[in-house]
Symmetry: C2
Subunit: 238 residues, 2 copies
DNA sequence: GTATGATTCAAACGATCGTTTGATCCGGGT
DNA sequence: ACCCGGATCAAACGATCGTTTGAATCATAC
């Protein structure tokens, strides 16, 4: 990870680091190429020379971290499936592989992973077409793998329902990572934690797992309805 | 609601409608005042005349819908608390008051409510400072009310934990509403539903409730640990 | 030392941004 | 009939955007 990221010596790396930081701070459109280049300590034309334009720069800022992130997700999932020797994985392990890797990256404040994850969370809501297409093709393969793993892990839940809930979980994580300051707005009382990013991971994990295994909505075409009803009744007591 | 919204006759209303639509489609910064005015069928200077600038226009686009939305949330909550006659409300009712109102607005595709909620969901991730301050003061009172209601409804859960989970729920909803097309990216198989916004509500609701009532993360300072352990054990069967 | 390709630079290009100006149009009150 | 304030208009302002140009600089191989 570290060998491809961040180098103080070469211009290209300094530009990427500055872009990542400023994109996360002000947004993609609000960050100008001049602002970028000044922060990287190089000329405006150099930025265009290395990346061929703003769009190329944006693509590269995401690519250098996303490829590692998604490869790591698949590696952890592969490892887990190998250890399970054919049996379906427990849902919490699948979530750990997908979201745990991302949350560990978000907790890495020195290496810039925290900055990037904040940027990534904000970019999920980006209306720009080329960003959507780019993120879609970066995520397509890994999402397909995790969808299949969840289908196997939750045979009682209709597949469409799992897709919906995967969507909800992605939203909760993106928003939680992107809006560390947004949480302060709704908190008013200071969360006493020293490192908010480290406190986030276990809390988000149990929230996501609870949402994933929630009783199905009424009128949903469940393949096995009885067990869900039992769970719903027992939860009423909590 | 309808009396303050949308009027085809006066310029001011046409500008607000056009701005709402284009902001949701291209984002706040990517939508220019000229684009706006052309879509509203009026002159560029008229837009500045009515709203005093782009910032004033943005503020008004959000204000006219947000004040109604939050007033309605409080009205429903008041109604529920009156019916409960002093007893703490069930959590699912509180979520219904907060998220149900928003989801009904998001399902109103004719009145423009769907457009606005898509815009609102995307704006939660907006890095701009003045937007954050504006949304914070619009939401401060209503969030405080719902936080207190949840504290009463879940006395066994530490208050800090509830704040975290409220944060997660807001993220899941924002993302779910803002990214109806983002869901298509991860789905690949077409969700057969005719109206995706109507299909969203019950699914999101049960997901949020499941997350809210999930077992607390390990090492969390629970005030009453025993009932949580029991719930965790019974859920393992699902 | 010198030629060569990669890199950085100051400067300018055309386009578009948000905002402002001053004239013009329109309806209701005296 | 006159006036006046609100509303709309075409036109321009200065600033900033992304991108391009052509010369200067650097490292490297011959």
């Amino acid at each position: 990870m570290a060998d491809e990221i961040a180098s103080v010596v070469d211009t290209r790396g300094r530009i990427l680091d500055a872009a990542e930081r400023l994109f996360a701070q002000h947004g993609l459109e609000a960050t100008s190429m001049r602002m970028l280049s000044a922060a990287a300590g190089c000329n405006l034309a150099s930025t265009n020379y290395h990346f061929g334009g703003k769009e190329g720069l944006i693509r590269e800022v995401f690519r250098r971290r996303l490829t590692w992130l998604n490869r790591e997700r698949l590696r952890v999932l592969d490892e887990m499936e190998a250890a399970a020797t054919g049996r379906p994985l427990k849902p919490h392990l699948i979530l750990e592989a997908f979201f745990g890797v991302a949350l560990r990256m978000a907790a890495d404040s020195e290496g810039g992973g925290a900055t990037f994850m904040r940027l990534l969370g904000r970019t999920y809501a980006e209306p720009s077409q080329f960003i959507r297409n780019f993120l879609a093709e970066e995520y397509a393969a890994v999402l397909e793998r995790f969808k299949r793993a969840l289908f196997r892990a939750l045979p009682a839940v209709p597949e469409a329902e799992i897709v919906w809930r995967l969507h909800f979980m992605l939203g909760a994580m993106s928003y939680a990572i992107a809006g560390t300051d947004a949480l302060k707005l709704i908190a008013h009382c200071e969360l006493d934690e020293a490192n908010p990013a480290a406190a986030l991971a276990p809390r988000l994990m149990s929230f996501l797992l609870g949402g994933l295994r929630a009783p199905l909505p009424a009128g949903c075409t469940a393949q096995r309805a009885k067990p869900d009803a039992k769970v719903r009744r027992s939860r009423r007591a909590a």
